[in-house]
């Protein structure tokens, strides 16, 4: 039987949210409050409750009744929307903050990466910061010394290692920070969304380093909005929503359920005023919709099922030639593709004011996951932007096709291209 690494039972965390923004009080406020019931207040203060408030403060449960188990060597992904309590859970497991109720039991030394480069000091050199940051992350001095060369090498900053950090570019700082983090070897590793840093080459390096960690049999809990990373790294998944566990099981099912939870929300998106980042007064895209292969409006498309994106446009002034564009982005904000209206012989708009509609049909190569659609328009000759909506509508691609086919689990990418392989020939 596999041994447990983490077990939580009824874990809950309550935050008091004082007034507007002030999380800490001034003594004057406390005195005014305290005048009403000074002894009660002091009592609370000494009991160590967050804010000896007078009951006027609202409280929210960031986590409630969280119970799950992680076995040794498992890589658990935690997914959920912003504010679902993912980071709070990591903070409790790494002892940064205490739970309000419940128990967590942890077998083994925990290392947490909620942020890379914690404690970096700009006046210290790269070398000094490696030792400082390593110690902050819980590495022993001897351990850092052993891995020092590897860390510097991995970050690729050898030349500047004796230069004060304040002269580093932000990219170099992040690379060094991640490199230290990647060489952390606790028995249990807790990772918050920290991979979304650095250039693509470095990200790839980090991913393979993480894979190494996973293969080394270490227990990892990984929080991310990056479904692709979760899918490729995690064996199991927990989906948190509003502080509660909605699903616990294999990673793929957790991801699929999570993605499905977004569907039906907005098959047709009426663009709100504040979503336009460009306002030319000449052209406005005011409605964006997603249609499945049968022409029904939905935001849930099956794997390999072709879909269409429909735009409704109001032309408000005289435009010579306009080009419409649609972009598909990963949840991490990376542009996967941009298509333009005139790419495939469409007719540029050069039309009198009025309302128009257009439909773009896509051959679906996307891997299952959650995507964000951007739409926009620009004048063809001047390139002047007429309208741009970076976040127009969500598109979910469900894990299995209508024929019950699933993508190759070894494909860790965002796109599943059709490929024709030749015969293997002897050369």
């Amino acid at each position: 039987m596999q041994e447990l690494a983490i077990k939580t039972e009824g874990l809950g965390k309550q935050y008091r949210i004082g007034g507007t923004q002030a999380r800490y009080k001034t003594l004057r406020e406390s005195i005014v409050d305290g005048a009403k019931a000074p002894f009660k207040r002091m009592g609370r203060l000494f009991r160590g409750e967050a804010y000896a408030g007078t009951g006027l403060h609202e409280s929210i449960w960031a986590l409630k009744e969280i119970s799950f188990e992680v076995k040794q060597g498992e890589v658990l992904g935690i997914i959920g929307r912003n504010g679902a309590g993912k980071t709070t859970l990591l903070k409790i497991l790494s002892r940064i903050t205490e739970p309000t109720e419940g128990v967590a039991e942890v077998w083994g030394k925990v290392g947490s990466l909620l942020e890379v480069g914690v404690g970096f000091h700009p006046e210290l050199t790269g070398r000094e910061n490696v030792f400082l940051n390593g110690a902050i992350l819980g590495m022993r001095k001897a351990e850092i010394e052993n891995k020092y060369d590897e860390i510097v090498d991995f970050a690729g900053v050898d030349k500047y290692i004796d230069t004060p950090m304040k002269h580093y570019s932000s990219g170099m700082q992040v690379r060094l920070a991640f490199s230290i983090a990647a060489h952390l070897e606790p028995e249990i590793l807790l990772i918050d969304e920290v991979l979304a840093v650095g250039d693509i080459g470095f990200q790839r390096k980090c991913f393979s380093k993480m894979d190494e960690v996973a293969y080394a049999g270490r227990t990892v809990i990984f929080v991310s909005h990056n479904m692709e990373a979760i899918r490729s790294l995690c064996t199991r998944g927990v989906w948190l929503d509003e502080g509660k566990v909605v699903y616990e099981g294999d990673a793929t099912s957790a991801i699929n359920l999570y993605i499905e939870s977004f569907s039906g929300e907005s098959a047709v998106s009426t663009i709100a005023e504040e979503s336009h980042v460009v306002d030319s007064g000449l052209l406005r895209i005011d409605k964006v919709s997603i249609l499945d292969s049968e022409g029904r409006a939905t935001s849930r498309i099956s794997y390999r099922e072709d879909f269409s994106i429909g735009l409704e446009i109001g032309i408000l002034g005289t435009i010579e030639k306009a080009r419409l564009g649609i972009g598909i982005n990963s949840p991490g904000g990376q542009r996967i593709t941009t298509v333009h209206h005139t790419d495939k012989g469409g007719i540029p708009l050069g039309v009198p004011p009025g309302r128009y509609a257009v439909l773009a049909r896509f051959v679906n190569d996307l891997m299952p996951g959650l995507y964000v659609i951007s739409v926009g328009a620009h004048e063809e000759d001047s390139g002047k932007s007429l309208d741009y909506i970076p976040y127009a509508i969500d598109l979910s691609i469900i894990g299995t096709s209508k024929e019950g086919e699933s993508p190759d689990p070894a494909n860790h990418g965002l796109v599943d291209m059709e490929v024709n392989w030749s015969e293997v020939e002897r050369i």
Binding site: R23, T26, L27, G48, Y51, L93, V106, L132, L137
Partner: protein, 297 residues
Amino acid sequence: MKEAEKGEVQETETGNSTAGRTGAAPMPERIQPTRGWASLKLRDIWRYRELLYFLTWRDIKVRYKQTIIGGAWAILQPLLVMAIFSIFFGRLLGVPSDDIPYPLFSYSGLVIWTFFANGVTFSANSLVVEANMIKKVYFPRMIAPLSSILSCLLDFTLAFMVLIIMMLFYGRGPTLAVFWLPLFLLLAMVTTTGVGLWFSALNVMYRDVRYALPFLVQAWLFATPIAYPSSILSGAWKVIYGVNPMAGVVEGFRWALLGAETRPGGIIAVSSGVAVLLLVSGAFFFRRTERIFADVI
């Protein structure tokens, strides 16, 4: 010693973990809400002693970066105050100084006082300054104020060397009482740590501390026998005066080094008691409030 460490609960040396982990230790670490007074967990601090070392080392390295005269500030601070005191109190007001040349008298007090004042000020702000670290990484929080205080020891050492030079200059050699010196240095550490722990924990919850502290430290300076000797007080008052633990520290420090005629007995006893009380209460108060630091900082 290595072996002893490995034996500790479930903490195995991570460096060896690749060789094959020996499965879960029988006793897991329990994470749950602490109720009532928390234990001091001194062992936890011991485990993180390397972090204590690194943070102290960083504070020392960084403190005088991008200054022109650098570490000379450590000497200049007490020296300048000494000059002011010597002119106003020594010369103009003719404050007595127990037959010790006034500059030497006030400087000897200021050396240990500056350690206390800086230690309290730096440690009181240590948690707030490290807010991001506290929100993102676990470590025994007490490490932050402790490292701030330890880093002040270097400044103290520099200022102390100037004191030795002054002693040579005035021809005041130490007496046998000098063997008591380590004890008074320890008392200074205890007092500074006690006060530092109280204020650092309070500062997390009430930022008023940051603004009130400079005034408090200044007032405290005058409530301590630095510019004047405690011998101007008589009998029982002198002992009550010891309630200010820095009174005992300064008197004792000065006596051990410069050998004032009478041994300051009662005042030291009272000060020591108060200092220990401050340290113990400060440590427990700190531990009690520590659990909410990451939430309110």
